[in-house]
């Protein structure tokens, strides 16, 4: 029951946060400079009539609260508005952008987490030794480089070996499915690697310190006393406990991952949601920016929720 309570509580909290995000999102974009219609102001010969008709079209002539209700209503119907840039429904773009971002980002993140776990554990276990210095040193360096800079460096180093930008080779016709996949993967390597390397550094440091803390716990001594080998102590006792703070910290860091992949996508011309955000800022495509912002916030909330639920699975004490 208490665990059920925990789940309900986390879910409700996530929902509230999403609602707050939606509301704040609405008002944030209403206080941004300029009304929506100025966006097209530099299009040759925009007439005042046109401006008015656009205002009507976007409901900007109505009072704010009415706009807000309209906005909520639209959201409920999955309508995120129309992009200023190309007059297409934003939701459609977002869907496509997400579909492009998710595989690249997931590959990078999963690799980062796995690598981070291994090297973090090794560093903690070999604390003060060569393994520690090597692995936390490398991690610290990677953690310290600006993402965009690291991306550019990879671009220099791998120029020629790997595709420098885009998601696939546009000029490869009649590919089989496997060839297409291979092509996609080749394009994914550099951006994913940049994501992975920057995250890897942070994760290693997190895992290392969580692991060190765990290794100081008495049950680790107990486990050793029971005759478990070092590796077994780590695997069966330390790791799961070390995962607790790790999961929390990773979840808390999600917001900054988002920032990181925007930079990565810009560097590698990856047509994902990060680049969409960038383009939206450059073009002042407010409906698009608003939607990107909302989607990113909601996904961070959802991943935090996921982390909370994972926590429930990892830690039996959580309902206390």
């Amino acid at each position: 029951m208490k665990r059920g309570d925990y789940v309900v509580k986390r879910v409700v909290f996530a929902l509230i946060t999403i609602f707050v995000a939606i509301t704040l999102n609405f008002f944030l974009f209403r206080v941004l400079p300029g009304s929506a219609v100025t966006n097209i102001a530099r299009v040759p010969h925009a007439s005042p009539q046109l401006i008015h008709s656009l205002e009507r079209e976007f409901g900007l002539d109505k009072p704010k609260w009415e706009q807000y209700l309209l906005y909520l209503d639209n959201l409920a119907h999955g309508n995120l508005g129309i992009s200023f840039a190309d007059q297409q429904p934003v939701s459609q773009h977002i869907r496509q952008d997400l579909a492009n971002t998710i595989p690249m980002l997931s590959l990078g993140t999963v690799v980062a987490i796995l690598m981070g776990l291994v090297s973090g554990v090794v560093a903690a276990w070999r604390r003060g030794g060569l393994g520690d210095y090597a692995s936390s040193g490398v991690a610290l360096f990677l953690y310290s480089f600006p993402t965009q800079w690291l991306g550019l460096m990879l671009l220099i180093f791998f120029a020629g070996l790997l595709p420098a930008g885009g998601m696939s080779n546009p000029f490869a016709f009649n590919q089989t499915y496997v060839q297409h996949l291979e092509d996609l993967l080749r394009h994914m390597i550099l951006p994913s690697l940049t994501v992975a390397l920057t995250l890897y550094g942070g994760y290693t440091l997190i895992v290392r310190s969580a692991m060190l803390e765990t290794l100081g716990e008495d049950y680790v001594l107990t486990a050793r006393a029971k005759g478990l080998s070092n590796w077994a102590v780590i695997r069966r006792h330390a790791l799961r406990n070390a995962m607790l703070p790790t999961v929390t910290l990773i979840a808390l860091g999600l917001g900054s991952i988002v920032g990181g992949f925007i930079l990565v996508e810009v560097v590698f011309s990856w047509p994902g949601i990060g680049q969409a955000a960038y383009e939206a800022v450059v073009q002042r495509d407010y409906p698009m920016l608003q939607a990107v912002f909302l989607v990113l916030t909601i996904s961070v909330v959802l991943f935090n929720l996921l982390a909370d639920l994972l926590y429930l699975k990892l830690d039996p004490r959580v309902s206390e």
């Binding site: 208490k2 309900v8 509580k9 409700v12």
Partner: protein, 344 residues
């Protein structure tokens, strides 16, 4: 053993008016319902940490409040000092009803009752020197006329607490002191305002055996020397038996037995007291005590059993114990020795 005369004095009612007296004291802590509970309009439950306690401490008296962890003894002590607010009952301090005192009056009250904590490593601010720690109460209550007066009072307090010469200690910080010395500094900081009541919560349980007696003897001296009343909260019956005038035994938020230390230890009336005493290992290896094991674990203060709250674990419980919630009444041969059991 010098506990006897004092016990007699107290038991004989030498001090007419208690220094502090609580009646029908109830302290509850609300229990978090959780969101689901709240949504389902489940009643808000609470822990009755202290559930109808009558207790008093006379001037110059040391009363030991004993019991297992979680029985409510610390909460009782804190309630007496008005550090937690009681839900019901009254507290009289030197004849004045202080149950609902607030603001300035409460601050005034704070000067006159002080608390000593269990862990001297934790109860002193690690950044403060002994001087700063001991003068802090004086500064809070602006109780020193001038710099010299302040210094004088600090020195006096330290020396009363057995840290002689005071000047040797003034500029040290807690980590430069031994455990016993720290507890003495804490006591000095409590004494500096010349309080009437001291509540000492497990004052020696974190100290090494070899220095415990010194600290306890200090407390003992303090109250015999003046009008100070001390409530000592402890789980160690042997210590209570040796240093206190009176012992009150708590079980699950209630006092189940109370009387002169000697009477309670030598002639326990309540089955719980008997069991508790039987579990104390004697120091002499030749001595053997038959341990009266109790059934089950300490029950949850959220679900207090009906009738006598001890009955589910009581080795001599009867059917009536389920129904009757016994009150403290005179028992045994000692004066003012009381127990809450239908069998006495």
């Amino acid at each position: 053993m010098k506990a006897d005369p004092a016990a007699f004095r107290s038991a004989a009612g030498v001090s007419d008016e208690p220094l502090v007296e609580a009646r029908g004291l109830v302290v509850t802590y609300p229990l978090r319902r959780g969101l689901v509970g709240a949504l389902r309009r489940r009643p808000r439950r609470s822990v009755r940490a202290v559930d109808g306690v009558d207790i008093f401490v006379g001037r110059g008296e040391m009363v030991a409040l004993v019991g297992e962890s979680g029985c409510g003894k610390t909460t009782t002590g804190q309630a007496l000092l008005r550090l937690v607010d009681p839900q019901a009952g009254t507290i009289h301090f030197m004849g004045e009803d202080v149950t609902h005192l607030g603001g300035r009056d409460l601050r005034r009250l704070r000067r006159r009752m002080q608390m000593i904590y269990q862990d001297p490593y934790e109860s002193l601010d690690p950044r403060f020197t002994v001087q700063a720690t001991v003068e802090e109460p004086l500064r809070i209550h602006r109780a020193a006329r001038d710099r010299r007066d302040l210094q004088q009072q600090v020195t006096n307090a330290l020396e009363r607490a057995g840290l002689v010469p005071a000047s040797m200690y003034l500029h040290r910080r807690p980590h430069e002191l031994s455990g016993g010395q720290r507890q003495r500094v804490a006591i000095a900081a409590s004494l500096v305002l010349r309080p009437d009541l001291l509540v000492a919560d497990e004052p020696v349980s974190m100290l090494d055996v070899s220095v415990r007696a010194g600290v306890l003897a200090l407390l003992d001296d303090l109250r015999t020397g003046g009008d100070l009343g001390i409530l000592m909260i402890t789980h160690d019956l042997s210590t209570a038996a040796h240093f206190a005038d009176r012992i009150a035994v708590m079980y699950l938020g209630r006092i189940v037995e109370e009387g002169a230390a000697r009477d309670v230890v030598r002639d326990p009336q309540h089955p719980y007291t008997k069991a508790l005493l039987s579990a104390v290992p004697p120091r002499d290896p030749r001595e053997r005590r038959v341990i009266q094991a109790l059934k089950g674990e300490t029950p949850d203060p959220v679900n207090v059993p009906s009738g006598c709250r001890f009955h589910p674990r009581c080795p001599v419980a009867r059917a009536a114990c389920r129904e009757v919630d016994p009150e403290l009444r005179p028992a045994g041969t000692g004066l003012r020795h009381r127990a809450a059991c239908i069998l006495v």
